[in-house]
Amino acid sequence: MTSPLQQKIKITGPSVVTANRTFDGVVIYRTADRGWSTELANAAIVREAEPARALLAASVADDVGAVGAYIAPVKIDDTGAVVPGNLREQIRRSGVTIALPAHA
């Protein structure tokens, strides 16, 4: 779960580009049509280093709408759905693993 900011880009399996929306910080994923979506299911999947770098470069260029773009691992589960590739990304996608104080 090492922060992606501390990592060099390496692709070891299916990956997506993710970022936070500048307006409100919400987690977003880069789509194949050069847009952004809050749904991981809509993310463009890349499996090799060169397309991943290209996707990231295009995402970073979209500086107004998205901030802090990076490549994140995903997995394809038994049903074929795209799911986060590690706990960090799972927490980014699904929220904190605890009840929020106001909702406890």
Partner: protein
């Protein structure tokens, strides 16, 4: 409370207007993120996993009830209905939208609160003993000096772009409640044989990936010279601190690499250039600041009023009183700590409703004043002892009277991987599990004073190095593991804890802590021997054997 003047308010208001313009330009695309990031950081705005996090300063941990209510308002209007009190007397909001930040800042500015210098490579919020001004064992109110330092360092042009962040902490008592030895500069207010007030100055303490205990650089600096002296330290740091490597940029590394003697000599030389100059404080200036701290009109009240005698038969009240009520410099009054560590709750969090209710209780029972401590608890500093039973009932109903202050479930924890973009592992669920394991107050009291500190990464925001039991989240093959240290402490005898062995997986952490506690109970010489003293006496090995014998 400190009464702000027009200059303070103007500064805060102007900053709001400036930041509003910066946010607007960022959202319109006029500013890139690279251009905007240092500007948002100057206003305490970080980007975390899920959202922007907004860190608000609470100088020396002192708040009025009006200020506290405004924090509740921000939590409710712009965030998700709660705030998180941190180990540096700040409050953080975890879910705030960038578009709303100027309005939130403007609302806070109405009561003199701001977020300046809660981030970035500058002098951060000046912290102090949360019992300042009311502790019976203090030389004098350390907040007066914290305020002098705050005013001097706020937006100081020479110290706004230091090699790294820079943290001051001040205590005025022999018992250090401000953790001064793990700060860049720690100041201990003392009185010399001539009756002069001054400071022992420590430098180079800090946690993070390279923990160091602060070293004494000068045994006594007169109060009037404290600004010029710390300015000399900062000047040497600014000149020689490393900017080529972020991991070696803190002053603790400079002090370590130069050696305290050589560093002190450099500071002494720099001090000669500024001592006896404009930075020398005159008595009038000190008195002006001191006069702005307005203390309540205390009554002469009995230390053991009838109300307290009557309540003594209530076991729950007595458990809380023994644990959460501390002596006050006025015998008829007490300092009351409010535990923000309920069983199963995230340490340091409080809901907007709780915060509002605490503000009301502060008005009713504590002259409208609240304190925030580095242990992530709150305190009401001026409670008449006759009011303790009534206050307890109200706090209990609010869920902030868990009688666990300084006990095993009074856990310091960083936000960890649930929120933080730097974290490698979660902290809060570990803390929650431990509070459940040690929810029995009789057992917790049997164990006695025991500080558990948890950090989700090496940056050590949860001060794990100086926990009696320290828990550090690390990553192994994409799994959460935790290193355990014991024997650390953050008080006047501060030391860094010792690692007991290999990291353990998430699921085993609470078991390991239980093993350590059980080993302590079996190994202590007498009930009065605290955990940390047992570790000091017998070392790590017996605990290591207990923990790893079956793992």
């Amino acid at each position: 409370m400190y009464a702000y003047d027009e200059i303070d308010q103007t500064l805060v208001d102007e900053r709001v207007a400036e930041f509003r313009d910066q946010v607007q330009r960022r959202l319109s695309g006029e500013l890139t993120e690279d251009e905007f990031k240092p500007l948002r950081l100057m206003n305490g705005v970080y980007l975390q996993l899920h959202a922007y996090m907004f860190r608000v300063a609470i100088p020396y941990g002192t708040l009025s009830s009006a200020q506290l209510r405004k924090l509740a308002h921000v939590a409710r209007k712009y965030d998700r209905g709660y705030g998180h009190f941190t180990t540096r007397q700040n409050i953080q909001f975890n879910w705030i939208a960038l578009k709303d930040l100027p309005d939130a800042l403007a609302d806070l500015a109405e009561v003199g609160i701001h977020a300046m210098q809660t981030s970035g490579n500058c002098t951060r919020n000046v912290t102090a003993d949360q019992w300042g001004g009311v502790a019976p064992d203090e030389v004098e109110d350390p907040r007066v000096w914290a305020e002098i330092l705050r005013q001097h360092t706020a937006l100081h042009p020479e110290f706004s772009f230091l090699p790294r962040k820079f943290k001051f902490a001040i205590t005025a008592s022999d018992h250090d409640r401000a953790a001064i030895k793990v700060h860049d500069i720690g100041l201990r207010l003392i009185r010399n044989e001539q009756g002069e007030t001054g400071f022992e100055v420590l430098v180079g303490g800090g946690l993070g990936r390279s923990p160091f205990i602060g070293k004494s650089i000068k045994p006594f600096v007169r109060g009037r010279d404290i600004l010029s002296y710390v300015e000399a330290i900062l000047r040497v740091y600014n000149q020689y601190g490393r900017r080529d490597n972020i991991y070696k940029a803190r002053i603790k590394i400079l002090v370590h690499e130069l050696g305290i003697e050589k560093f002190a000599a450099e500071v002494e030389q720099a001090w000669q250039e500024v001592a006896e100059g404009p930075l020398t404080l005159d008595d009038e200036m000190i008195e002006d600041i001191r006069s702005r701290f307005v203390y309540p009109a205390y009554e002469k009240l009995p230390a053991m009023p009838d109300e307290l005698r009557a309540a003594a038969g209530d076991a729950r009240f007595e458990a809380w009183r023994r644990n959460s009520v501390a002596p006050h410099r006025e015998p008829g009054y007490a300092i009351v700590t409010l535990s923000l560590k309920p069983v199963g709750g995230p340490p340091g969090d409080a809901t907007a409703d709780q915060i509002d209710a605490i503000a009301d209780l502060a008005d009713k029972y504590s002259f409208g004043e609240i304190r925030v401590g580095h242990e992530q608890n709150l305190a009401l500093p001026h409670v008449a002892r006759r009011d303790l039973p009534a206050l307890w009932a109200a706090l209990d109903a609010l869920g902030v009277a868990t009688p666990n202050v300084n006990l095993v479930s009074d856990i310091i924890a960083c936000p960890g991987l649930d929120y933080c973009s730097l974290a490698n592992a979660r902290s809060i669920p570990i803390a929650q599990e431990l509070t459940r394991r040690f929810a029995n107050h009789e057992t917790a009291n049997l164990i006695g004073r025991l500080h558990v500190n948890i950090s989700g990464c090496i940056n050590a925001c949860g001060h794990h190095h100086v926990g009696h039991i320290g828990i550090l989240g690390v990553e192994k093959n994409d799994q959460e593991f935790y290193q355990i240290t014991i024997g650390g402490r953050a008080d006047e005898d501060a030391r860094v804890g010792d690692l007991i062995g290999p990291a353990v997986p998430y699921a085993e952490v609470a078991d390991v802590v239980e093993d350590i506690v059980e080993a302590y109970l079996a190994l202590r010489e007498k009930p009065e021997e605290l955990f940390v003293d047992t570790v000091k006496r017998i070392g790590v090995e017996p605990f290591k054997e207990r923990v790893y014998a079956t793992r």
